[in-house]
Point group: C2
Amino acid sequence: MTKTDQRLAAVRGAMRVQNLDGFLVPRADEHLGEYVPPSAERLAWLTGFTGSAGLAVVLAERAAVFTDGRYTLQLAAQSDASLFEFRHLVENPAPAWIASHTSAGARIGYDPMLISEDGLAKYTEAGLTLVAASPNPVDAAWTDRPPPPAATAVPQPLRYAGKSSAEKRAEIAASLRAAKQDAAIVSDPASIAWLLNIRGGDVAYTPFALGFMLIEADATAILFMDPAKLSPATSEWLGNGVSVRGRDALEPALAGLGGKRVAVDASGSPAWFAQRLREGGARVVDAADPCALPKARKNAVEQDGARAAHRRDATAVCRFLHWLDGAARHTTEIGAAQRLLALRAEAAEFRGESFPAISGAGEHGAIIHYRVSEESDRPIRPDETYLIDSGAQYPDGTTDVTRTVWTGPGPAPAELRDRVTRVLRGHIALATAVFPEGVAGPHLDAFARRALWDAGLDYDHGTGHGVGSFLSVHEGPASISRAGRMVPLAEGMILSDEPGYYLPGAYGIRLENLLLVQRADRPGANKPFLHFETLTLAPFDRRLIDETLLTAPERTWLDAYHARVLDQVGPALDAEARAWLEGACRPL
Amino acid sequence: MTKTDQRLAAVRGAMRVQNLDGFLVPRADEHLGEYVPPSAERLAWLTGFTGSAGLAVVLAERAAVFTDGRYTLQLAAQSDASLFEFRHLVENPAPAWIASHTSAGARIGYDPMLISEDGLAKYTEAGLTLVAASPNPVDAAWTDRPPPPAATAVPQPLRYAGKSSAEKRAEIAASLRAAKQDAAIVSDPASIAWLLNIRGGDVAYTPFALGFMLIEADATAILFMDPAKLSPATSEWLGNGVSVRGRDALEPALAGLGGKRVAVDASGSPAWFAQRLREGGARVVDAADPCALPKARKNAVEQDGARAAHRRDATAVCRFLHWLDGAARHTTEIGAAQRLLALRAEAAEFRGESFPAISGAGEHGAIIHYRVSEESDRPIRPDETYLIDSGAQYPDGTTDVTRTVWTGPGPAPAELRDRVTRVLRGHIALATAVFPEGVAGPHLDAFARRALWDAGLDYDHGTGHGVGSFLSVHEGPASISRAGRMVPLAEGMILSDEPGYYLPGAYGIRLENLLLVQRADRPGANKPFLHFETLTLAPFDRRLIDETLLTAPERTWLDAYHARVLDQVGPALDAEARAWLEGACRPL
């Protein structure tokens, strides 16, 4: 009997205790976040699969793991096909699979802390009977589960945050009162970090402290977090308006809100909150996390911080690209990623990577979320593409940049240059867009695709995501994606612009800069307009660009961008690297 | 006491009988359609306001009429400001207005046949107590209400419909079974007309017969319609699978569906249906009208019909533009619209206009939904713009075309030509778009706006709407509009492409063709792609185009389009008109 056999049997045993015919094991923690602590890696514990999107369904006689196209191969490699069927999350959704393998009225258990009310609705709409399990059968079976993380939370000083927590809380409270809400649940640790001007280290890549918060219409807040994570100085920094209570105090606090109108995000917060609140007699209002939008709109100090962080990051990226230009053929994917990390780490302000770098040579570049491992690592070879998508955390800002280079020494093939140039044209089309207030990311996504679409080509990912300020590299609520929510873009938002093109087995192309939304009022404009300021500073590899395919305005944009890169980054480089950058940034 | 005074008092009297503190009077009929019969013009009867979008709210002591920006002036002119407050439908929504003028728990009446469940939700979400009124207090007070229309319904022959009703019903039934639905309510008369291959004449502009339908998973249907509207031949045409019952049989039929899963469109069907079904023990499923999508995807016969209808229509439009070029300065807005109508009516297949023509000279063109009246009519003058937006119904297709011309004899001002050229560039950008399956109209809308956005300009309407096949000129479910639903564009859909620009008090520009969605697979494409075939054939006024602002591909497109117009329309014209068209269509 394998370890997985034993775990599966133990979970089924715990299910039987609760008379459950099935149980859902999503890859999720209690904050429904992207990066989860080891204590919440239930899916990996049960199935071996470590991808960032997935769900296991355990029935009495069979089980399945669902994931998306990014992870199909990884799932097959990590998980045991004799114990789990492998299914596509979207094409073969779990609710239909469960319905086809259970009889009517079967009791399907779920952990209400690990799924939102909107997530639950997909199951109940399929006619399934969902039952909140307590305890979670995985937790019951997982005897050596790690403790929850307990990293220390620290103040985020005003010189980076730009606005005091008291001021932010007053604004959030005013928005609650305007919506006739008495309080709001905040389950996203990034929102707590933003609102309270604190940062932490409970999960990888995103510098927040795990916890929950109740913000009330009088501008006070209760932070539910192990008080041991807060030093006396941090507790004092939180101020009088914020009281700190342990995680155990959460349920009684919700029970005490009877009769109040409490906002809970039905898609972003665990269903547990609305369930407990309703039980306690509160009136639950489905409303977005009240911090999400103000957090996304960076204030002037945060915008300046973002610019400084990007200049600093650009120095490392340009040094890396220079190094790569000579050393590419003597290193590997891991070697290159480590070199970039080391160059970034030279900055005193460096606080870590903002996500695991994607470092893919040749055919590995075509795997959109490729994560190099010791097993997959390979040399970067002559005359192929190399794609590096990486980012860093600095106290004044979060970065995320992708470049695709040609290793040479021979010239890049014409078809590849055609594809790269189409991706670049899409990148430029979005970067130069001018649009009125009210326009949302899904309305602009096609700008970045048109040059590819014209050739019958496309890429199967969104064009851009929001980016936090020394917070999540993937931050809501806005995005530039067809599947994204209709959140109007607004001044101060930071979004990525990262079209790509992938030829499986051959190469991948992605060109990514971060963009900052700014006012762009035109003389005689008949409404307020916005446009983008490009934050990222790094040359695009001219060996991959077919300049004859660019329009005159596109060429002008690229030359001006390269001149700006040289102007802003050049002075920070040594003579050799500067000379290289001058060549990389000379007009086409 | 004015007539309106008396009517308002009578409605309030009828409200008191039902103990109602308020009552909603939307501009709607029982099909929630765009064109309503005189018997359903309750808003106009009560308030005098005849706009196509509006709502009156009658409270005990005050009343208000809500409409949108299109109708602000018309509302003020038609309605009595001493009896009604005038409010903006979107900026000052009715639910908030009611909440601020009533005490908690006030009973707000509504007619469940005149509002959808989604429409009702806006009121209940504002905390209001909604009460289904019976009878409608307006109907109780409206003693000389006209009878419902009773135009004869006739078969739509297979040579136009392209597919038999039995085949269509089998497909719809299969889709119901796939969704595990036993039956679906169809309240949209256009869906009934499409599914049963019949047409009628109960309302202006759209050739359908008012009625309701229940389609069941066994492919049978019950048509609830006054049998007197169906001749024996039409009854026979409906076939065995369709039974016809009077309107009175509707409620008992719904009551008989206890235990069944019945699909009702919560946004498109009156709330009455779901309410009656639930009362009768049916399980109501919120699902889009099952005919909406297949109706929108024209089959090959309908596509050929559309092409024939557009060639026929183009003959009239080109003759009109030729006539206008000489006569513009001797006619008026009404005169021009009548001339175009007369030219269209020369075709044996002409069945009427598809909507009231918008015929606006100079500053009238800036009124987006301008409808010329005897009072507003004015001469078309030298050296100004003239905008004509019109369409026709033919048994093989529905048309909708807008052109903006310069009356001359002087040259058009440079700023105007700049604006027209930007609108034209937007029109071309959409018309030439190539895009993968799965893309919806809201994703493409920005293509039509970019040239305007670049100059800080925009237009406050959608870019395109669906068009029926000898049916509604505004047909769902797809559209090309930021506010539109996310319905992927699909082969066979017909949509308008009509960007514009409006300078209030000066001029209006709109350039509209209809586009047919077609497959556009490219060699080496990595997924199925679509593109547009332009159906409309009429020259764009070159006097308004600044060709120096066009890119080479745009100019190539325009020259090729004009060559096609000349090729397809020229042979149907007399020598003089053909000579004019040759000039209008010569290369730039």
